[in-house]
């Protein structure tokens, strides 16, 4: 029987046909239909609309069919939690079947349905199965406890399941022990609490189980052993004794985990003898790992590169086994090269060099480069071998292969840094290859060498001159080196021609460059040379600190952390686990969200209920519901706050964070119909609109909480799926554009950049990048774009508070939106002036603007503090004679250095504050009044 036919492409009406077949009374036909559904599910087709039909097949004697239905159920229970509850009765019944396979199947499956309501029903069957006579059922139930804990931890503790799990560690069946251990470890991870502490009693049991259980169980136990706190050296010895034989296992995971335990214990024992003996036992098994497939080799090599850094003696004599094979994959070769460098010693360097030289003549450019670098690194770290390394490098330069020569020049520069004034005899040979250098790093290295040895190279000036011809076109790295090298040359050989050269370079580096580093360095040299050439010599030609090869050395703290994580992904990435592990869990469906979800699942439920009597009729309705459910889900999700309902947008132009009323108002005007595409309209209309709104109302607070408290700027159709919330804010003394981007489109979005149109304040982004990185579909990101004053962006004409913004993305093109500029963030911290200046300015300015604000101030001191908080500074406060009023003289500076002057007159406890305003930009009055008002209320 060939099942591959199920993968044939979808025909029209296939779903309909499937529904009929699923309802068929003929069992083989039914089974065939379920298989087709599973095949469709595998290739990623959405067959969730068949949920009720498939679940109807669940009550069957046929185990094969039951398994298939359960498989479907696990896959779709997440999206149809409501319907999954329908299956509970069958689970409970199945968990009491005489056939242990069915009991286990039921327990396994129902743990995968993450609906908190279902867990109540789960507890009794689970309790029974944990005590089942059949070990197969018990081991399945053990895992189920971990599943349940993830959904509802309280329930697990209340029902005493944790204690039952701990008891299972003494089960007679090793598979049950392994699963109980794994479940406890998992629960420990989820809860962060210590539910499994290894006592010395348990240690003994675990060590005993080590010999009994499967290879996978052995890995679990070995990994658990690492966390055991040994009491003394004896303890450690005892453990290692039991663990050492595991190093002979065929499974590389067992070998590495065993090695991890031994390495851990090596840190614990004091005896040199023991460490030595264990080291010796570890070498051959580690080498044997290199006989495995390249994938396994790769993991072993990444781990070995950590081990040799901590315990170099273990593999000190084995450098030969790390020699690259002709057909090793490149990722294996690169790792082997690193380890060869680490193991290179004066004893084996000849052999190693011979290999490197061979690799440097291979085809793969990256590998060749790395091999050349390796020679340089050996030279830097092994003083006695440096001469031999250099002669190999010179031989390689003779091959004239372009990238080999360039790489060799780079490493020779490092060798010169390490051993100053020792090997300059080879400079002549390097100089013969100047014309082949075209990569910046190689060029920069060569220029550095010429500058450093300018006094020993007869034609150093000519050589530098040839490089200088292309000075303006070079990269910054080369320009900087050229500048320094010329200065060195000048200090060593101040001839006339060199004098001309230096003038040329200095003027080019100061006048004709945009690079501040280059310019500043040139100015420093210029001043040094013009004030005190002798001091310049002391500075520029000073001895440099000696370098060491630390390019592959890890920080001791990191190495220590990674050694404890040998044989984990951390040891492959060479990063501590917390940098990449994120415990993301699937949300548990609560009854509330179910209620919300029910609104759009309405028709499905109806169809399910109607299924038995009206298969034919129900089909189109359910299909239509499936179509309409997509946009509605959308509506409930990211876009809820925005104008995915176009009608809502004008009604609430600057949707404030608390603007739920507005929003729902908007929805009232156009209940969903506006959002649903025309094709789905009839289906949406068929649904009860009030129910739909009820669903919205329930879901809205949740969505509002999830969205940031920023007004929406972009969304809906205009946003092509992207929703942007944002506002100008003042953060740490700067104006920033706080942005929050939700990517609701189907593609990953990156390269977001921001630009603004000319505006009344000269606001412009200081850095155009919106640093949200790459946003995968469904992802969100926040960024603060710093804004700076740019006179070029200053709009002429009367001030207005509009800001036109454009944002581009690599994938979706450019978006535009209009934003309002709030004045508050534009008021600057240091914007105060002294009283005299205030008076002078007040007098000099024309007629003020006045407004009466209807606020009541009871406490003037508090009011002053509040004004200060928005960067409006009170310069003077005095009572106005004869009126009982207080007068406050207030100033502030608006972004772009516009001083604003205010006089406030108020009567304590009486409503009404008279504010007079004067500024060179009188048109700001209204905005400033608004700030004063909001700060005082």
């Amino acid at each position: 029987m060939a099942d591959s036919k199920y993968f044939s492409t979808t025909k029209k009406g296939e779903i309909h046909e499937l529904k009929e077949e699923l309802a068929s009374l003929d069992r083989p036909k039914k089974k065939e239909a379920v298989k087709k559904v599973i095949a469709a599910m595998t290739v990623g087709k959405d067959v969730s609309m068949l949920f009720p039909h498939v679940v109807n097949c669940m009550q069957t004697e046929d185990l094969e069919l039951k398994k298939l239905v359960y498989l479907y159920l696990i896959n779709y229970a997440k999206t149809q939690p409501d319907l999954a509850i329908m299956a509970v009765n069958t689970f409970v019944k199945d968990s009491q079947e005489p056939n242990p396979l069915i009991r286990a199947l039921a327990v396994r499956t129902m743990g995968c349905i993450r609906v908190d309501k279902i867990t109540e029903y789960l507890c009794d069957p689970l309790q029974r199965c944990l005590k089942d006579d059949d070990p197969y059922v018990r081991k399945t139930a053990a895992v189920c406890v971990a599943k349940l804990f993830d959904i509802n931890p309280e329930l697990v503790e209340d029902r005493g399941f944790l204690d039952m799990l701990r008891d299972m560690l003494s089960d007679a069946n090793p598979m049950v022990v392994a699963n109980a251990l794994a479940a406890l470890q998992e629960i420990q991870e989820i809860s962060g609490k210590e539910v499994l502490q290894i006592t010395s009693h348990m240690l003994f049991k675990l060590l005993a189980a080590l010999n009994e259980c499967t290879e996978w169980g052995q890995v679990f136990i070995l990994d658990a052993l690492v966390s055991y706190q040994v009491q003394d050296s004896k303890d450690a010895e005892k453990i290692v004794e039991r663990v050492l034989p595991r190093l002979q296992h065929v499974n590389s995971a067992v070998v590495l985990s065993a090695a991890k335990v031994v390495l851990r214990m090596m840190e614990e024992v004091r005896s040199e003898e023991l460490v030595k003996a264990w080291s010796k036992k570890m070498g051959p098994p580690l080498v044997t790992l290199l006989s495995a497939e390249p994938e396994v080799q790769y993991v072993a090599l990444r781990n070995i590169s950590l081990i040799v850094q901590r315990w170099p003696s273990i593999l000190a004599n084995e450098v030969k086994v790390f020699f690259c094979k002709y057909n090793d994959p490149i990722y294996v070769k690169m790792e082997k090269l690193e380890i060869m460098i680490a193991l290179a010693s004066e004893r084996n360097i000849d052999q190693v060099l011979l290999e490197f030289k061979e690799y440097a003549q291979e085809v793969d450019v990256d590998f060749v480069r790395k091999a050349v670098r390796a020679i340089g690194r050996c030279a830097v770290s092994l003083e006695k071998a440096a001469q031999r390394c250099i002669s190999v490098l010179l031989e390689l330069i003779q091959t004239k292969v372009n990238y080999v020569v360039q790489e060799a020049v780079i490493v020779i520069k490092d060798i010169f840094r390490r051993y100053p004034n020792q090997y300059e005899s080879i400079i002549g040979q390097l100089c013969d290859n100047l014309e082949s250098l075209d990569e910046p790093e190689a060029k920069a290295s060569m220029v550095w060498i010429i500058g450093e040895y300018a006094d020993r190279i007869d034609n150093a000036d000519e050589l530098l001159e040839t490089f200088l011809e292309t000075f303006p076109e070079e990269t910054a790295m080369v320009q900087l080196q050229l500048l320094t090298a010329t200065v060195k040359l000048f200090l060593k050989k101040p001839t006339d021609s060199v004098q001309r050269m230096i003038q040329l370079v200095l003027s080019a580096a100061t006048n004709e460059t945009d690079n501040p580093d280059l310019r500043d360095r040139a100015y420093v040299y210029w001043r040094l040379l013009s004030t005190d050439p002798e001091a310049a010599k002391d500075v520029v030609l000073a001895n440099k600190p000696v370098i060491t090869d630390d390019s592959s050395q890890l920080e001791p703290a990191l190495l220590k952390a990674l050694m404890e994580q040998i044989s984990s992904l951390a040891s492959v990435y060479h990063k501590p686990a917390d940098t990449f592990v994120s415990r993301q869990r699937l949300a548990v469906q609560t009854v509330d969200t179910l209620a919300a979800a029910r609104s759009f699942a309405e028709e499905d439920v109806a169809a399910a209920a109607a299924a038995p009597q009206a298969t034919g009729n129900g089909a189109p309705a359910a299909a239509a519901a499936a179509v309409s459910s997509a946009p509605v889900v959308d509506l409930l999700g990211e876009d809820l706050l925005g104008d995915s309902t176009p009608a809502a947008a004008p009604a609430a132009p600057a949707a404030t964070p608390g603007g739920l009323d507005d929003l729902l108002g908007g929805l009232d005007v156009a209940p969903a119909a506006a959002a649903a595409p025309p094709a789905a309209a009839p289906a949406a209309a068929a649904a009860d609109p009030f129910d739909l709104l009820g669903g919205m109302a329930a879901a809205a607070p949740a969505a509002a909480a999830a969205a940031p408290s920023l007004p929406q700027l972009l969304g809906g159709e205009k946003g092509k799926g992207l929703t942007v919330y944002g506002q100008l804010q003042r953060v740490g003394g700067r104006v920033v554009y706080q942005l929050h981007v939700n990517n609701g489109s189907a593609t990953s979005v990156d390269g977001l950049m921001l630009q603004v149109n000319n505006n009344s304040f000269g606001l412009a982004p200081a850095d155009q990048n919106v640093a949200v990185g790459t946003l995968a579909p469904g992802a969100r990101g926040s960024a603060a774009v710093p804004m700076a004053y740019n006179p070029a962006k200053l709009a002429q004409g009367p001030a207005n508070m509009k800001l036109q913004v454009a944002m581009r993305s690599n994938q979706l093109g450019v978006f535009y939106w209009d934003d309002n500029i709030p004045l508050a963030p534009l008021l600057e911290e240091g914007g105060t002036i002294d009283g005299q200046a205030f008076l002078a300015a007040w007098r000099g300015l024309p007629q003020e603007a006045m407004q009466k604000l209807d606020v009541t101030i009871a406490d003037v001191e508090a009011a002053k503090a509040r004004l200060g908080a928005v960067n409006l500074f009170v310069l003077a406060h005095r009572p106005v004679p004869g009126t009982g009023q207080d007068a406050l003289y207030v100033t502030g500076r608006v972004f772009g250095s516009t001083q604003v002057l205010l006089e406030l007159r108020l009567m304590r406890g009486t409503p009404g504050v008279d504010v007079s305003f004067k500024s060179e930009r009188q048109e700001l009055a209204a905005a400033v009044f608004a700030v004063v008002r909001s700060s005082l209320t």
């Binding site: 060939a2 099942d3 591959s4 993968f7 298989k35 599973i38 095949a39 599910m41 595998t42 290739v43 990623g44 094969e64 398994k67 298939l68 896959n75 396979l101 743990g111 993450r114 081991k139 895992v143 599943k147 699963n179 499967t214 290879e215 996978w216 065929v250 499974n251 590389s252 995971a253 070998v255 985990s257 010796k280 070498g283 051959p284 044997t288 497939e293 390249p294 396994v296 790769y298 993991v299 004599n317 030969k320 094979k325 002709y326 994959p329 490149i330 990722y331 003549q361 085809v363 990256d366 091959t399 044989s567 984990s568 992904l569 951390a570 492959v572 686990a577 592990v581 994120s582 469904g778």
Partner: protein, 460 residues
């Protein structure tokens, strides 16, 4: 814990997919395929990589990718070994692993996965024990011709592609058989002077059992087998399997009658109580394929090929050069390499190549080819008998005049071959006994040896 497991076809289509924890997006299948296909600078992607906090671990077998994803700091070897194990189980149940085999058996594979993994935790992985839980009948598929190894193990009488379920389900064709293969892969590097500067064998004793009722077996290896483990004071028998001799292996090495292994590990079914004294392994073989032992050695190998190479200028034209290769096959005359490929990288300034071959009649030359893109010159031979002597000449047309550096730019020469019934380490099975007291019970026993090249390189 494993979040998802999926199998992708060579084109990236999903053919099997299971999600265990639901904490990795569904699009992970595409993310994996894109990342591994377009890894940086066209390099082959490593078997483990991290994208957006999700680790992808994969192995490739039979043209399909078996992939596991996780967000945890799992043991990577554990996951890779487990993926390899899944691929073996699929082979055991479906006869072979390939896109076709998986598509034809997908309900069976889902059944197996149900038992293999629960909530991302590894469960039962023995082919034997899994039989209890599967109900679907397998559709046995032989691997497509294109996926057979170059000079396949599939050739000869032992190329078996059958399901373990055949032995007890399909009564009609049921046949008891057991296969024991000694598979050795050679990694040898010769220096320019023709001396082997490094040589190693990675060997494995593979057992594939289709015996009903799983009777115990007894396997005896060479008496003159010595297992050494380096421990500072030269070589000495150690680690328990070393034969407990007081001699140092240095003495033995000179005596070429000994077979010396550097390290060996055994499958957990192996009972080694009689191994130290008699070199006997007793075992009850589980169903399906497994490695009874893996070993490696760098001692006294029988190297099957030697080669000499010379590059010289053509006196007639300075834009031409001549490369001469001579290859000796050093295996006994009754053995033969079933397929040989000689690969010679040439420098970029070689424009054209013309080849002539001098070989005894039976070593039929299957052809030669030169690729402009990879600059590789390849000769292929169908069958090379022991003792044969092959000469190849390649006339190169150069785009720049001949220079002495050409000599080092030609090469290294890489050989690919498979030699059936030959073990480079000289390890052998003295007998294979099936311990069942039944005179009429005489199942087919297949024992064979094969040595193939892992990396067999002559530097120039």
């Amino acid at each position: 814990m494993i979040s998802q497991f999926f199998i992708l076809s060579p084109r990236g289509d999903v053919i099997i997919r299971r999600d265990y924890l639901g904490n990795v997006p569904k699009t992970s299948t595409e993310t994996f395929f894109r990342t591994s296909k377009f890894y940086k600078a066209g390099d082959e992607a490593p078997p483990i990589f991290l994208v957006d906090g999700v680790s992808y671990l994969s192995v490739k077998d039979g043209g399909v990718h078996l992939v596991a994803t996780t967000r945890d700091n799992v043991s990577p070897s554990f996951v890779l070994e487990f993926l390899k194990r899944i691929s073996i189980i699929i082979k055991d149940y479906c006869g072979s692993i390939s896109e076709e085999a998986i598509r034809k058996n997908f309900p069976l594979i889902y059944e197996l996965l149900d038992e293999l993994l629960d909530y991302g935790l590894t469960q039962n992985t023995s082919t034997e024990a899994l039989k209890t839980f599967v109900l679907n009948e397998p559709t046995v598929v032989a691997p497509p011709a294109s996926l057979k190894p170059l000079f396949g193990l599939s050739k000869g009488p032992t190329g078996v592609f059958k399901s373990v379920l055949d032995t007890n389900r399909t009564d009609g064709k049921r046949r008891d058989e057991i296969y024991v293969d000694v598979v050795e892969r050679l990694a040898v590097t010769f220096n320019a002077a023709g001396h082997a500067i490094s040589s190693q064998i990675d060997g494995s004793i593979q057992v594939k059992s289709y015996l009903a009722g799983n009777p115990p077996l007894k396997i005896k290896l060479n008496d003159d087998l010595l297992i050494t483990r380096r421990d500072g004071s030269g070589y000495a028998g150690g680690g328990g399997y070393g034969g407990g001799s007081g001699f140092s292996a240095g003495d033995y090495a000179a005596d070429s009658s000994l077979v010396i292994l550097d390290d060996v590990n055994f499958h957990e079914v192996a009972d080694l109580s009689a191994f130290d004294t008699e070199r006997c392994i007793s075992l009850v073989p589980p169903d399906g394929e497994f490695a009874l032992a893996n070993y490696r050695t760098s001692h006294a190998l029988r190297l099957p090929f030697r080669l000499s190479i010379a590059t010289e200028a053509d006196p007639a034209s300075d834009h031409k050069a001549l490369v001469r290769l001579r290859l000796w096959c050093d295996v006994p005359a009754d053995k033969a390499a079933s397929g040989l490929e000689v690969e010679l990288p040439l420098p970029g300034h070689v424009a054209r190549v013309h080849c002539e071959v001098d070989a005894p009649g039976s070593a039929a030359l299957a052809g030669w080819e030169f690729s402009d893109k990879t600059h590789l010159l390849r000769w292929r031979f169908k069958k090379v008998l022991g003792g044969m002597d092959l000469s190849m000449r390649a006339r190169l047309t150069l785009t720049k005049p001949f220079g002495a550096s050409l000599r080092t730019e030609v090469g290294p020469v890489n050989l690919k071959f498979t030699i059936p019934m030959f073990s480079a380490s000289r390890i052998s099975l003295k007998y294979l006994q099936i311990m069942r007291k039944d005179r009429n019970y005489n199942p087919q026993r297949w024992v064979r040896y094969v040595t193939s090249s892992n990396s067999y390189t002559f530097r120039t």
